[in-house]
Every structure is written in C-alpha cells, then in structure tokens.
C-alpha cells in the first residue's frame, strides 16, 4: 500500500515540475518527488514483523530483520537532496536579484 502512495507522490512531484512556472514551486515539487522516491526505496526493503537492523550483541543475529541496504542508500540520498535543494535555492535567490521575480514567464518578458 505504501508503495502505491510513494509512486503517486513521485508522479505528483513530476507533475508539479512540468506545470509550474514559479521557481520556488519547482524546487518544492522537486523535493516532493524526492520524498516519494525515498519512501519507495525504504518500502522495497521492508519485511512484515521484521525488526530494525540494530543489534546489541552478536547473540541475537538470528532474528528476522528488515533489509538494511535500502536504508543506507536513503541516508546518502537524503543528504544529496539537501545539497541540490540548497544549490537550487541559491540559484533562485540570484534569479530574484537579477529579475526581481520568481515567475519564469515574467523573466522571459524581461529578457
């Protein structure tokens, strides 16, 4: 069930990206797309009644665990998402300094 929600969220972000002309709205839909992708990645590794992959001693290695690899991938991807969002916002700020608007249609008129 969560995978359907993740894919719908991913598609929502893509739709927002294709239709919006406001720079900040495009960055927001980029983030929505990434959050949807991260939920999908974690849902790929989920096991019903598995427990979190953290052990206190090697004795309890035999229990049923969730797959730790997707969690490692999402940890890296979240911080990459922050990097690109910070950069996109910096570009948004420099666009606003130059054209005094966030709307790309108005920017085209000024060009």
């Amino acid at each position: 069930m969560i995978q359907y929600i993740a894919i719908i969220l991913f598609v929502f972000g893509l739709y927002g990206l294709l239709t919006n002309r406001n720079v900040i709205k495009m960055i927001i839909s980029l983030n929505i797309m990434e959050i949807g992708l991260f939920i999908f990645i974690i849902s790929v590794g989920f096991v019903y009644d598995g427990i979190a992959p953290i052990i206190s001693s090697t004795a309890d290695l035999g229990l049923l665990y969730v797959d730790p690899l997707p969690q490692a991938l999402v940890l890296t991807a979240i911080v990459i998402g922050v990097g690109t969002t910070a950069l996109a916002l910096a570009f948004a700020k420099s666009i606003h300094n130059k054209y005094n608007t966030f709307n790309l249609d108005e920017v085209e008129e000024k060009l």
Binding site: F10, L14, L17, V23, M26, L30, M33, E34, L37, F40, I41, V44, L69, P70, L73, T76, A77, I80, G83, T84, L87, A88, F91, A92, S94, I95, K98, Y99, L104, V107
Partner: protein, 458 residues
C-alpha cells in the same frame, strides 16, 4: 598504486584547496598531471574498496575501455585548466571535484555509486555553467539534471529489489541467470532516461541550447567537450554490458536516436550563431554515439567519442575566446576572424574538417569503419541517416569556415597567446597523422571488451 588514487587524490586536493584559495589552480594542474602519469602504471582488473568481496562492498573496474576514457578526460581537464590559467581562479576547487566525479563515474562498478558520482559531476557542471552568469538557464539545467539522476536512482532501486545486488558484474550474472527480459524494460528505460539527460540525447536535451549557447572559455569546453565525452563513455559501458535492448524497445530507441541526429543537424543548419552550430552538432554526435553502442559497435564508437570530445573542446575554446573579444557570436560579426591569426585558423579548419569526416583526417577513418560495421549488421536505415547527417554537417561547417576566413567589413583582432597556438597545431597534426597512419587504431581492436570478459580473464 591502485586505481582508487584517481578519485582519492583529486578529492584530497579539493578539500585542501578550501584552506588555501591561492594555491588551488596550481594544485589542479599538478593533480591532473599526476592522474595522467598514474594511468600508465595502474594495473587492470577489479579494485576492491573497504576490504569486502565483490557483491558486499564497492569495487572499481579498470579495463582498456575505462583507461582510454580516463586518459581523455584527465588530459582534457588539464588542457582546459592550462588554457584558462589566468582567469576563473575561483573555479579551481570545482574543477578538481569535477575531475574526481568524472573519474569515479568512469571507474565505478557499483550502480548506486554511479548515482553518487553522477550527482557530484552534475553539481560541478551546474556550478561551471553558472560562470556564464545566466541563472535561469543554469536553473533549468539543474532541474533537468536532478530529475534525470532521480529517475536513474529509481531504476537502480527497482533492479536491486528484483535481483538483490548493486554490483554491476553480479547483476549481469544474475540477469543472465534469470533471463526474464520483459520485466527489465522499466528499470532499463528509467536508467537510460537518467543517463540520457546528461548525455544530451534528444527528448531531454533542452538545457543544452541555454547552457552552451552563452558559454565562456571555461564552461564551453568543459560541458561541450569533457562532459560530453565522459557521459558518452558511461552510456556506452551501460548499453553494451547491462541494457539489453530487444524487440520493440530497440526500435523505439533507434527511432528516437536517429530523430535526435536529424533534429540536431537541422537546428545547426538553420542557426546563424557560431556557438549554436557547435552545440547542435555535438547533440547530433551524442545521438550517433548512443546509436553505435546500441548496435554493438564498440571500438570505433570509442574513437568517435575521443575525436568528438577533443575537437569540441578546441572549437568551443576558439569560438568563445573570439566571442568574448568581439562581443557577439553571430557569424557575420566574426567574419575574417582567421585573417590575422592564420595558425589558429589552419588548426581550426583541420579539426572542423575532421569532425565532418573529410578523407586524410581521423574523422574519415572512424566514420568509414563504423559505417562498414553497421553495414555488416545490415542496418541500412542507420547508414542513410548518418550519411544524410554528414552531408548537412558538411554544408553548414563549410559555410561557417568560408565566412571565418574571408575578411568582412569590420576588422577583428582576436589574440591567442603562443602556447595555445602550439597546442592547437599539435592536436590538428595528430588528427592528420592518425587519419593517414591507421595501424595503431586497429591493433587495439581485441582488447576493448565488455565487462564480463575482463572479469573472466581479470
């Protein structure tokens, strides 16, 4: 002396360059030369990282294919940083990171690791293109790049959920084992789109006109030459080893790519700006490269990428330098550019003729060989498309050359310093010698092989 130094040393230099801003440009040159020298001594095969066997940990793969790619990329980055020695000091740290990202992308044997290096070199490319002072166009490039790498990550995760591994060699073995081709269409399409955005393939290259159209002597050669070459190699490695295009998917991809060639050539033909002609011809070249790899032509596609990357770097540099001093890149304004700098003009003409594929130049031998290989695979339609593209290419390049050589109304005095002239002449002569003397190109034929052969005998 393992291949990991090609990524670790530029990273270390980049982290240290933030402490001493002034020494960064020289650090860039030193590290670039260090990489080139290392490349001749690094042994081939799988390099394991972190001490864990293949499928558990991450591993790098060095074979003749990636060694040629690394030589091209590091050589061109050193050349470009040498050409822009005085200017763009602020971008030295970013160029170091771009070098680390591209080296990592060409070496890595792990799918998620490729996504991480895709992001690093992508962000380095956005920052290099921000030197054109066009925030809106760089923003479009950033959005398209991030969407592309998110789709690539989506494809990688689907492959992981199906086959349980992230290592490319392990993945190939598992796919051949299961052999159920129909369910692989979705992940391969997503990954092909992800790589296609940066590799300038047709439906996703709307950013190219904006970024390269107003490029300068740093971002033009870097994104037009180096990045195009690097992503050509990565796309080639994944098309030949991982993606299996068959049936109607192959048809769709072939039609899309040939459309990319024709649209690229048509746009170049119709444009009157020097930089736009160059960028549309490099879009067409990127689609030709992808088409060759899809049809199994590996060796001559590799030479085609190398020739295209080197020539585009030089052409973009010459045009951007002239545009900066003249003020506009309309061909009519640049008329008579080579009248008073003959040496640069001769080198520029030789390289353009080689891009067109005129006999006696390396472009011709490459084109003839991959056309014969395509003919062997009886791809008649592709040959017609490529020949048509060559014809259109010939027309607009000759038209540009004529304008650049004959004196127009206003006097243009663009100055290129002497060391640059020497570089241009050396490269033009190299294009000439390899055009005539082909044996070194042929004897490399058997050693360029797919990943699996490296693993079996590696």
């Amino acid at each position: 002396m393992s291949a990991i130094l090609l990524v670790a040393v530029p990273l270390l230099a980049a982290f240290l360059s933030i402490l001493g801003k002034k020494l960064a440009p020289y650090l860039l040159l030193v590290v670039g030369l260090f990489n080139i020298i290392i490349l001749f001594f690094v042994p081939e095969g799988i390099v394991i990282i972190g001490g864990f066997e293949q499928p558990i940990g991450i591993s790098l793969l060095l074979d003749t294919y990636s060694r040629l790619a690394l030589l091209l990329i590091n050589g061109l980055i050193v050349l470009i940083s040498f050409m822009n020695l005085g200017k763009y000091k602020k971008y030295a740290g970013i160029l170091l990171l771009a070098m680390a990202g591209l080296n990592g992308m060409l070496l890595t044997n792990d799918l998620f690791n490729l996504f991480v290096f895709l992001e690093i070199s992508g962000i380095a490319a956005y920052l290099i293109s921000s030197s054109n002072k066009r925030p809106v166009k760089t923003f479009h490039y950033l959005v398209l790049g991030v969407v592309g790498s998110s789709l690539f990550l989506f494809g990688v995760v689907i492959l992981y959920s199906m086959y349980g591994t992230l290592n490319m060699v392990d993945m190939i073995q598992k796919i051949n084992l299961v052999g159920n081709y129909s369910e692989l269409i979705l992940p391969f399409t997503l990954m092909f789109i992800g790589l296609g955005v940066e590799a300038k393939l047709l439906p996703f290259n709307s950013w190219v006109k904006g970024v390269l159209g107003e490029s300068n002597t740093l971002s033009g050669p870097m994104i037009g030459g180096v990045y195009a070459g690097a992503f050509g190699f990565v796309l080639g490695r994944y098309i030949t080893n991982l993606f299996m295009f068959e049936g109607n998917l192959l048809l769709v991809v072939t039609v899309l790519l040939s459309l990319g060639i024709l649209v690229g050539e048509a746009m170049a033909y119709s444009s009157s700006k020097a930089r736009e002609i160059l960028l549309f011809s490099s879009v067409a070249q990127a689609s030709i490269v992808a088409l060759l790899f899809v049809n199994g032509v590996i060796l001559w596609a590799v030479y085609y990428i190398m020739a295209a990357a080197i020539s585009k770097t030089i052409l973009f540099f010459v045009i951007n330098k002239a545009t900066k001093e003249v003020g506009s890149d309309e061909i009519d304004q640049l008329q008579g550019l080579f009248v008073n700098n003959k040496v640069v003009g001769v080198a520029y003409t030789l390289i353009t003729l080689s891009v067109m594929g005129l006999p006696l130049l390396v472009g011709f031998t490459i084109k003839i060989n991959f056309l014969t290989q395509l003919a062997a695979g009886d791809q008649i339609w592709l040959i017609i498309v490529i020949l048509l593209a060559t014809l259109v290419e010939g027309i607009y390049f000759v038209r540009m050359l004529i304008k650049l050589w004959y004196k127009g109304n206003n006097e243009i005095n663009v100055s290129y310093c002497n060391p640059l002239k020497i570089i241009f002449v050396i490269i033009a002569l190299a294009f000439l010698t390899f055009g005539v003397y082909q044996t070194p190109l042929n004897n490399l034929d058997n050693s360029i092989d797919t990943v699996m052969e490296v693993v079996d005998n590696g």
